[in-house]
């Protein structure tokens, strides 16, 4: 088991290194000078040179990558070209808001998905199974940015129950756990939770429907176990896969909330990414992509490390 942990950890390192390389180079795909964001088009040549030196843009690319990586390892992702503020602090405060949104959405989506999927799998072919399969198809088919728009129309424009935008009164980005702030969370979280709900419902339904037909379940029933006890065995069988899918989904929510954040002007990483793209703010772009991806990598690692706790087959392997 320790060999498994060690191997999995070792496997993550080159991936993380690759992620830093892609995060760094991706933003240079585009033609155009990154200095356009701050220097006026008619700036004199010596000013341009000075700016290049300030941001280190006068060095060759591999040197820039090495320097950037070295500083990133110390938690310094440079300064935003547009605002001059520290990228690390900007990204981390935005990531906090995104994590909050993603965690709530994942909690609701995975909870409902598991319950619905288990019921549907147990009663394959019943009305609840049809409801569950409808929900899972809608979940994977709906453009969630549009769903957000529709929820805004219904609950903000028509009914006036919930705020349409932001994460707090007066556009404040400071989060607090009170009723006032929670009202801002309802619509974006409700929109975002649909995505994992569809996938989890589908996965759990398939796993449970498959498990209840297996011989060991028939044997458990034949031995006179109550249905609750039988369900415990079925759930244990489904747990490793559900955990793996959930881990992926939380990661997708972190990276995928960009559209929903844009719809609701939620002050998270997606919203920040959007601004960084349109301002061509290269250090900020690199920082956001890096932080989100490393989070995803770390999450995958965590899920893989938790797998043997749930699945004894991996433990023995």
């Amino acid at each position: 088991m320790f060999a498994y942990f060690f191997k999995r950890l070792l496997y993550t390192l080159p991936i993380a290194l690759g992620v830093t390389l892609v995060s760094f180079t991706l933003v240079y795909l585009a033609p155009g000078d990154p200095l356009n964001a701050i220097a006026p088009a008619d700036a004199p040549a010596d000013v341009i040179e000075a700016l290049k030196a300030t941001y280190g843009l006068d060095r060759p690319m591999p040197v820039r990558y090495a320097l950037w990586l070295g500083r990133a390892l110390h938690g310094d992702l440079g300064a935003s070209i547009a605002t001059g503020r520290s990228v690390t602090s900007e990204v981390l405060s935005a990531a906090g808001n995104t994590l909050l949104l993603a965690a709530v959405a994942a909690f609701v989506g995975v909870g409902v998905g598991c319950a619905l999927g288990a019921l549907a799998g147990y009663r394959a072919g019943s009305w609840i199974d049809r409801v569950a399969s409808a929900i899972s198809v809608v979940g994977v088919s709906v453009p969630h940015y549009w769903l957000g728009l529709v929820l805004t129309i219904v609950f903000s424009v028509k009914l006036g129950w919930l705020p349409a935008m932001g994460a707090g009164a007066g556009g404040s980005a400071e989060w607090a756990w009170d009723a006032e702030h929670l009202r801002y969370l309802v619509l974006p979280a409700a929109t975002l939770c649909v995505i994992p709900m569809g996938i989890i419902t589908r996965t759990v339904r398939a796993l449970v429907a498959d498990a209840v037909n297996q011989e060991f379940v028939v044997a458990l029933r034949a031995r006179g176990l109550s249905s609750a006890e039988v369900f415990r065995h079925v759930a244990r069988n489904a747990a490793p896969t559900v955990l793996a899918v959930t881990g992926l989904q939380v990661g997708y929510l972190m990276g995928g909330s960009i559209l929903v954040e844009t719809v609701f002007a939620w002050p998270g990483t997606g919203f920040l990414l959007n601004t960084a793209i349109f301002q061509r703010d290269i250090p900020l772009l690199q920082g956001i992509i890096l932080v989100l991806c490393l989070f995803f990598v770390a999450l995958n690692l965590l899920v893989d490390l938790a797998q043997p706790l749930l699945d004894p087959r991996i433990r023995r392997a």
């Binding site: 992620v19 155009g32 198809v137 809608v138 129309i153 996938i199 990661g251 995928g256 559209l259």
Partner: protein
């Protein structure tokens, strides 16, 4: 957004060259008996035809703006589905919008299908260090959540339709390669492939004659699941202002420009999204139907 389709569990089947015609015949017959699949296929056909024949069917000019007819509600005389923020007929724009939106759903998947299958075949057939280099490189791209990767590439390349096509293709290639590679690796170890190799067939002809037929099926099934993802993502990029540029008609872009109208005339602002939703749902249901109809083989 979820862009990972559940990987298709696949056991390579023996090549059914003789039975092929009757096999597809059986799939089709099975499909025709599935009311959901038939309804989805009809809806999809309707949307595709409306988009294809928009220049002849549409009631108005998709680019003709009118300042005095802005944001008319659904059911206005002369404008069945109202008008948009520039007074252009919405029904017309929805029909035209299907052209780009459908194209953006299919093209990246098609490109990724071709590129991904080729790379997967090479990696899977050659094995060894080639496989290692290719697959470990792709693992890095796999470490990016797909929406983030699409937005980051499209954002880095700059707005435009061809750039979002590139971005989406790059998002799907690693996923297709993974499916193609795993199937190829399984098929490569089968006895008849060994037999072909021993009888002196070259790598290329073995891949073409013996491996490809087994790989295309599962990769195709996987790819059909990606089309709706691609459409939603492509429209999402346009919605962010990273895809198709105005005044082009495209559902995601229309959703973006009509967003400001939700306080004036909310329901027309939601219409382009209804089209994206309906199309991707019809596609998913049809793909599900095809998948379960194809299961008769097993």
């Amino acid at each position: 957004m979820n862009t990972a389709v559940d990987p298709v569990p696949f056991a390579p089947a023996a090549p059914a060259v003789v039975a092929r015609r009757s096999y597809w015949h059986g799939v089709f017959r099975q499909l025709a008996r599935d009311p959901v699949a038939v309804a989805s296929a009809l809806l999809l056909l309707l949307i595709v035809l409306a988009a294809l024949f928009a220049p002849w069917l549409a009631p108005a000019d998709p680019y003709k703006a009118s300042m005095i007819r802005r944001l008319l509600p659904i059911g206005s005389p002369g404008h069945l589905l109202g008008t948009d923020e520039l007074g252009r007929d919405l029904l017309t724009r929805l029909m035209y919008g299907g052209r780009l939106s459908l194209l953006m759903g299919v093209l990246p998947v098609l490109f990724a299908f071709v590129a991904g299958t080729s790379i997967g075949l090479v990696a899977g057939y050659l094995g060894g260090w080639v496989n290692m280099v290719i697959m470990r490189t792709l693992d890095v791209f796999y470490a990016f959540p797909s929406v983030l990767l699409a937005v980051a590439i499209a954002g880095a390349l700059g707005p435009g339709m061809s750039n979002s096509l590139i971005a989406l293709t790059l998002v799907f290639v690693p996923q297709v390669v993974r499916v193609a590679e795993s199937v190829t690796t399984q098929v490569r170890q089968l006895d008849y492939v060994d037999a072909a190799r021993l009888s002196g067939a070259g790598a290329f002809s073995i891949i073409r004659a013996h491996v490809l037929g087994n790989v295309l099926g599962p990769v195709f099934v996987y790819a059909t699941g990606l089309v709706s993802v691609s459409m939603i993502l492509a429209s999402g990029l346009s919605f962010l202002g990273l895809g198709v540029k105005p005044p082009e008609a495209e559902w995601g872009l229309m959703l973006n420009t009509l967003r400001s109208a939700i306080y004036v005339n909310p329901w027309i602002a939601a219409l382009p999204g209804v089209m994206i939703f309906a199309t991707s749902m019809a596609f998913n249901l049809l793909a599900d139907g095809v998948r379960s109809a194809m299961d008769i083989r097993r």
